[in-house]
Symmetry: C2
Subunit: 350 residues, 2 copies
C-alpha cells in the first residue's frame, strides 16, 4: 500500500461464516461470526466491481438448500469457511461500474457481512423509490414480492370468485399472495403455524379464513371444512403432507403453483406424496416456477405495488433482527417458523 | 307380447357380470358369465334408444377404478351384479334415435354383453371410415388414439428435437405417443415390461431406444443411461416409482403429461412420490388431462391418422381375445401387462 497517493480507508468487516455443509435442521452453531478488514474502495484492477455497505439482509427459504452440497442445481452451494450470501439492500460506497455511483441504493445478491465487494453488479437492481422503507426491498419490493406476483398472476391464472389456498401464508410470499387474491375477488384461506399468525392472516391481511396446521390432526378434514366446494388454486409453499391433503380437495381444472416446499428442505429423504392420482380426474395443472424467469415484469410490478402500499391496500409485515450477530438465529428460525412475517436482518440503518 | 302384429326376435344374451367391488389386483373370479334374453328391438316407450350388436370390446386401464366403490369421481362405479360396461364397436340393429339407423356402425360406451340397449346414444360416434379394421375404433381410431393425440400435441407442447420418454410404451396409448413423437422429430425412448415388448418398440414402432423396467434395479440410473441430456417430455402412464425416477431426470422447463398411473390402480394405498421438489429448479409443468375434454378435435385427428394408417407411417398392434368368455381374463391381464399391444375382445366379427 506504500506509495499510493490516495490511501483508502481500511475498516473491520464482520461476517457470518458457514462452518460446514449442513444436514437436518440448520443450527446457529452451523455458522460463526468472524471479522476481517476491507478497503472501502473498489480495487483498481477490478473496473466493474461495486463496493457496498450492507443495510438489510434477507432470510429466505431457498437458502437452506445452499447450505448443503449441491450438484447441478440452479443455485450454488455456500462455501464452507466463507461468508453466506443472500439478497440484501445496500448503499454504494464506491463503484467501478458506469451503471452505479457512490450513494446509490441497490438491492440484490450480496454477502452476509458489513461491507461487500460485488464483482458482477449487473445483477443488482437500483432502488428508485425511496419513500417506502428500504427494508421492503428484501421483501414486498424485492424477490419475495416478485415471486408472489409472478406466481399468482402468471402461473395460477386466477379468476374472480375462485377458491384460493395459500400455505405458509404469513411468510414473505404468502401474505402477499393472499392479498393479491383478495384484491382480485377470490375467496382466500391461509395456513400458518401459530394462533397469532392465524389471527394476523384474518385480521390484518384480510384472508377470508385461516387455520393453524399444527393443530389439525387431519389436514384433509381441515381443508374440507374450509373449502366445502374445493380448491381452485393452491399456492404451494410447503410440500409434503399439506400437498397430499390438498390433492384430495382440488376442484375441476385447478392449478397448483409450486413456489417452494419448505417442510421438506431439512429432511434427508423427502416425504412421499401419495395422492398424485387425483390430478387426473380433476385435470390439475401443477406448475413449478422460479422468480428469476419473471424479472422482466419487475417495472410493471412496481407500478402496481407502490400505490397499493401507499394507499394501504396491501399491508406488509416484517420481523426484523437487529445486527449481523443475530443473523444466524434469524435464518435458523425461518425453518421452525419462529419468524412472524418476512424475516429481515438490519445490519446498519444507513 | 300377445296381440302385437310384429313379433320381435328374442335371443339369448351372454354377459360379463361384476360379482363384487374389487380390492387389490382384479381376478377373473371377480367376474362371472351370465345369460339373459333380449328382444332385438328398441322398446316402443324408449324412443331415443339404440339396440347394438357388440362386435369389439375395449379393455382399458381406467376400468380398474370403476371396479371399486367410487365417490365423487368423474366415472361411476360398475354395479355389482350387473354387466361391466366399457367402450366398444357395435352395429345398430334397431334405432329409436333419428341420428342412427339399422346397419350403422358405431363406437362408444356399451355393455360387456352380446347385445346392448344404449339409452343415451348421443354419446356414440358413427363410424364413417370402414376401409380400416373395425376393431381399430377401440384403439387407434377411438379413445386411446384421441388420448395419445390430445396428450402429446395439446398437453406436452412438443418441439422438434426434444427428448421424450413414454412409459407403458407398448400399450394402446404409448405406442402411438412414441410414433407421434418420432413423426415430429423428437428422440423417443419407451419402457415396457418384457423383452419382446422392448424389441417391438425398437423394431416395429420405431422408438430410438427402449428398456424393460422390470430388469432395472435402479430406474434413475436407467433413465440417466437412456437420457444423458435429460428428459424434456414425459408421457406418464404408470406413476409410482417410475415417476419418482423421472423427476430426477427432467430438463429445464420440461413437461409431464399425466395420462394415467396404472401401477397404482390396484394398491390400497398409492406409493409415495418423493422427488416433487425437483419440479422447482427445473420449472416443470405437470399437467393431467382427460380425453373427454378433447373430442372436439376428433375430426381433425381422423384427418391426420387415417392417411398415416393407410400409408403405414403409423403402425398399430392389437392383442385380440376371441369371444366374450375370454373378456374377464383379457381385462385382468391388462394389470399384469400380459397384453401385447392394445387389448381387444372380439365378441362377433359382424
Amino acid at each position: 500500500m506504500y506509495g499510493t497517493l490516495e490511501m483508502a480507508e481500511r475498516v473491520s468487516n464482520k461476517q457470518v461464516i458457514l462452518n460446514n455443509y449442513v444436514s437436518g435442521f440448520p443450527k446457529e452453531s452451523d455458522m460463526s461470526m468472524a471479522s476481517n478488514t476491507i478497503e472501502l474502495k473498489v480495487p483498481k484492477d477490478d473496473s466493474n466491481a461495486v463496493l457496498l455497505k450492507n443495510l438489510y439482509l434477507s432470510c429466505d427459504p431457498y437458502m437452506r438448500p445452499r447450505m448443503k452440497k449441491l450438484e447441478g442445481s440452479y443455485v450454488e452451494s455456500f462455501k464452507p469457511g466463507s461468508p453466506i450470501c443472500g439478497l440484501g439492500v445496500g448503499k454504494v460506497l464506491d463503484s467501478g461500474h458506469e451503471g452505479f455511483k457512490k450513494g446509490d441504493l441497490v438491492w440484490g445478491m450480496t454477502g452476509w457481512e458489513e461491507y461487500s465487494l460485488v464483482t458482477a453488479p449487473e445483477s443488482l437492481f437500483k432502488i428508485q423509490h425511496t419513500d417506502v422503507p428500504l427494508s421492503y426491498y428484501t421483501g414486498i419490493l424485492g424477490m419475495p414480492g416478485m415471486t408472489a406476483y409472478a406466481g399468482f398472476y402468471e402461473v395460477c391464472s386466477p379468476k374472480v370468485g375462485e377458491y384460493v389456498f395459500v400455505s405458509a401464508a404469513s411468510g414473505a410470499v404468502g401474505q402477499l399472495v393472499g392479498q393479491f387474491a383478495k384484491l382480485m375477488g377470490c375467496y382466500v384461506v391461509g395456513s400458518a403455524g401459530s394462533k397469532d399468525k392465524v389471527d394476523f392472516l384474518k385480521n390484518k391481511f384480510g384472508f377470508d379464513d385461516a387455520f393453524n396446521y399444527k393443530e389439525e390432526e387431519d389436514l384433509n378434514a381441515a381443508l374440507k371444512r374450509y373449502f366445502p366446494e374445493g380448491i381452485d388454486i393452491y399456492f404451494e409453499n410447503v410440500g409434503g403432507k399439506m400437498l397430499d391433503a390438498v390433492l384430495l380437495n382440488m376442484r375441476l381444472r385447478g392449478r397448483i403453483a409450486v413456489c417452494g416446499m419448505i417442510s421438506q428442505y431439512n429432511l434427508d429423504k423427502p416425504e412421499g406424496v401419495c395422492n398424485l392420482m387425483n390430478l387426473i380426474p380433476q385435470r390439475i395443472r401443477m406448475e413449478a416456477f422460479l422468480v428469476s424467469d419473471y424479472y422482466h415484469l419487475y417495472p410493471k410490478y412496481l407500478e402496481m405495488i407502490i400505490p397499493y402500499i401507499k394507499e394501504e391496500k396491501v399491508v406488509y409485515v416484517e420481523d426484523t433482527a437487529e445486527g449481523l450477530e443475530n443473523a444466524p438465529a434469524a435464518l435458523v428460525g425461518l425453518f421452525s417458523g419462529r419468524n412472524f412475517g418476512k424475516q429481515v436482518v438490519a445490519v446498519a440503518r444507513e
